[in-house]
Symmetry: C2
Subunit: 469 residues, 2 copies
């Protein structure tokens, strides 16, 4: 263990034990350096690490503070057990039966996959749409279908370059949301019957796509804080003819886990060694807690092996259906697949987002959004501690808008799902996140809506239902 890691652990212990209280300012670098006899750069590194772990957060020009809701009364869930070999996927029926239940707008949307649309600047975006349509030439309406809106491409490339990723102009393919991007990427590097390494638990849409494309899943366990278990992945890559790896490197859905910078390096080296392409689903990238955006694995890619998929659906413009992939060496083929399946995402939607990115104040909106989500996480964590039975474990992600709850073994999440739905509460039961229908006592809860008395009441109802098991 390095010196800064040891020091970080000391501070973490002070936070956990309450010596440093939630909201309290962490000692300044100079002060800490003198007090604890370590170099300022060690303190810096330790604070970066603590920030990555979600324990402290930077505030502009005021230093670091302990996160408000850092001390959840509940423990964090454990990493899933290791499975052997690959699995055919057959979960779509289950997933659709769960998703169908989410349509009712009157339910408390703890099962939703989206943050509340109230958190997005929809009126400002509508103005951008008006502006964009006024200046869009009739010719562009046709031409932008093939290669995407040029201004949007520039804006996305610019945001990459700010976060340290240099893209070739041709590497970006604008898609119908990240979902299409992920589909195209997988089709690009696999044939039916192939093996794909995915996460356990995994975003259920990933499982559905594998099922649709007749691919087999190799489930790699994900640690609730540290992300995919690279030891298991390495072992699987040695043993099995895996054709692609699909994962969320940052704020993984449903766990909220992120790979540390070191693990991102290790992951990339591993995949490069095996020449296995990475489909990096990074749609929650902008929803981090703290001062700095996490870097994608794509930032390490010197071999064109990473297809990095992003979207505006979770951060700016739900329903506009605009996403993209930075496709590395596969970009041309992805673009062709897109032209053969949907041709193009909506040209006006692209133009509206391009205008907003240039003039709308995206970064200001994102800061506000992140703050809202962090506050809502705190509220839900506190509420979970009040209402959920002893032995419940809850994740405490450093961003996003999902909590992953692991209840005592006696709880059946699918049964809880049905009971909750009868009470007007939707939840996402664990088994839809697994090709092997594990996580029978787990649920994913969405805290992407402003916290209200109805939310609190719903948590109490869930608590009652849980007590009945």
């Amino acid at each position: 263990m390095k010196r800064y890691e040891r020091f970080a652990d000391e501070i973490a212990e002070m936070i956990r034990s309450g010596v440093l209280a939630p909201g309290e300012k962490v000692p300044s670098v100079r002060h800490a350096s003198r007090t604890y006899g370590v170099s300022p750069s060690t303190v810096f590194q330790a604070y970066y690490l603590l920030e990555d772990r979600g324990l402290i957060q930077a505030r502009a020009r005021s230093g670091y503070f302990v996160r408000e809701h850092v001390r959840s009364a509940l423990a964090e869930p454990d990493q899933a057990a290791v499975l052997v070999d690959s699995t055919e996927v057959s979960v779509s029926e289950l997933v659709f039966s769960v998703l169908a239940s989410l349509k009712n707008p009157d339910t408390v949307p703890f099962g939703s996959a989206f943050p509340s649309p109230e958190l997005f600047p929809l009126p400002r975006l509508a103005r951008s749409m008006g502006q964009a349509l006024r200046s869009l030439s009739p010719h562009a309406v046709i031409a932008d279908m093939t290669s995407g809106n040029p201004a949007l491409r520039r804006q996305i490339a610019l945001r990459y370059s700010v976060s340290g990723v240099r893209l070739g102009a041709e590497e970006l393919v604008i898609t119908n949301g990240a979902m299409e991007a992920l589909n195209l990427c997988l089709q690009c590097v696999t044939e039916p019957g192939d093996l794909v390494a995915i996460e356990a638990p995994a975003f259920y849409a990933c499982l559905q796509v594998l099922e649709r494309l007749k691919l087999k899943a190799v489930e790699i366990p994900v640690h609730p804080r540290d992300g995919m278990d690279l030891g298991v992945l390495s072992h699987s890559l040695e043993r099995l003819p895996i054709k692609a790896c699909w994962l969320m490197s940052n704020l993984q859905n449903p766990l909220g886990a992120s790979l540390s910078p070191a693990n991102k390096h290790a992951l990339y080296a591993l995949l490069k060694h095996h020449q296995v392409p990475l489909i990096e689903d990074d749609v929650y990238a902008e929803l981090y807690c703290g001062a700095r955006a996490p870097n994608p694995v794509k930032s390490l890619d010197d071999d064109g092996l990473v297809m990095h998929c992003g979207s505006f659906s979770k951060s700016l413009a739900p329903g506009y259906r605009v996403g993209w992939v930075a496709g590395g060496r596969y970009a041309e083929q992805i673009s062709r697949l897109k032209l053969m399946t949907t041709i193009s995402p909506s040209v006006p939607a692209q133009a509206a987002i391009a205008d907003y990115l240039q003039h709308g104040g995206y970064d200001r909106h994102l800061r506000k959004l992140r703050h809202s989500l962090e506050m809502q996480q705190g509220a839900m964590l506190a509420s979970a501690a009040r209402h959920f039975p002893p032995g419940t474990k809850v994740s405490q992600p450093a961003g996003g808008y999902f909590l992953w709850c692991e209840f005592p073994e006696r709880v059946n999440a699918l049964q809880l799902f049905r009971m909750a739905l009868e009470q007007g509460i939707s939840i996402a039961p664990g088994p839809i996140f697994s090709a092997t229908r594990r996580f029978a006592n787990c649920v994913r809860l969405n805290y992407g809506s402003p916290w209200t008395q109805a939310s609190e009441d719903a948590m109490a109802v869930l608590g009652h239902l849980l007590a009945s098991f």
Copy 2:
């Protein structure tokens, strides 16, 4: 031959021989009935048939007139020869190399797949977008992704019901243009390796989709005026394990052919007998010449066997990427496939089109659009007669915006394509419309742009190039 068909042929002969001149009024029903000693209903049926054949057109409250450009100086092309058995498809490379050449906005766009965007009410549509975004609730932005904008669904269902098609509320799936609809329909009823009956010549995107899904093509010849050869189709259905039939029943791309009402009945009976689902690509439905929209095969479907695909891309809103499929018994499965691939077309684009359909004057726009296209067809036909070499055959479709030219055998369309491109003229060479790369001496020309001196000059250049063969 029925009495009205014989009478129609007599009138057609009078038109062809010049006894009835272009633009001239056809005898009124009463007058014709007395003069030729046939019943008024026979005259009516004959005129309907002639209208379907594109020879005469109705003008509101003034009776029927010979179409202005009905007497092309060039003969019509012949039906393609019959091929045996099925073919693996591998044309994508060729198609993409041709499509790439269309990107240059400075070329004369005879090779384009779209009508000129200048023909569309884009500013009015932009106002509808503004109106729609003002009244769209944040909740709807999320909710409309699953099932589509409810107002748009109602408007589409309404248009179906006007044309005699009754749809169940659940049968409509809103898609990212017709291209996604066609992809989903094919995926829904086939597995890799399956045989699909398609047209020869066929829209090249159809070939690309078959190639992508690893399906085999059974090419059924299409008559330039009457549409798919049902005799050949019937024979193929008897002999081969065909899993689906994909065709354009109205204004087929590239030939412009339409199935007559009688042939639509025959086609449906044939497919129903074999229980082979029909994927009916009807994206040009609104671009007919004459007074009445042709009915789709879907209007005959009492068994849920027809997946009818439509789009606003060719008639109202290019680039918005909004289409749909009335999916019959497959609707639920199509909807699920859509949720697993792109989730949804752009919600604002759907809302804008819904508002336009309610308030924008769609039918008025369509009448204007049809009139422009018909005039442009006449101009291109006349120009072809002036510039193209003797022996050239040109289709004379009853709508749409494509001419299909069959040049003398010595002409190599791919070579012509390259030579024309050097002169700043794009054309669509015949071989991209065939899984077996036939139609080596054919091209498709787009007359979807207002006719200008540049168009006329380009035709003259093509004439010169053709003379060099």
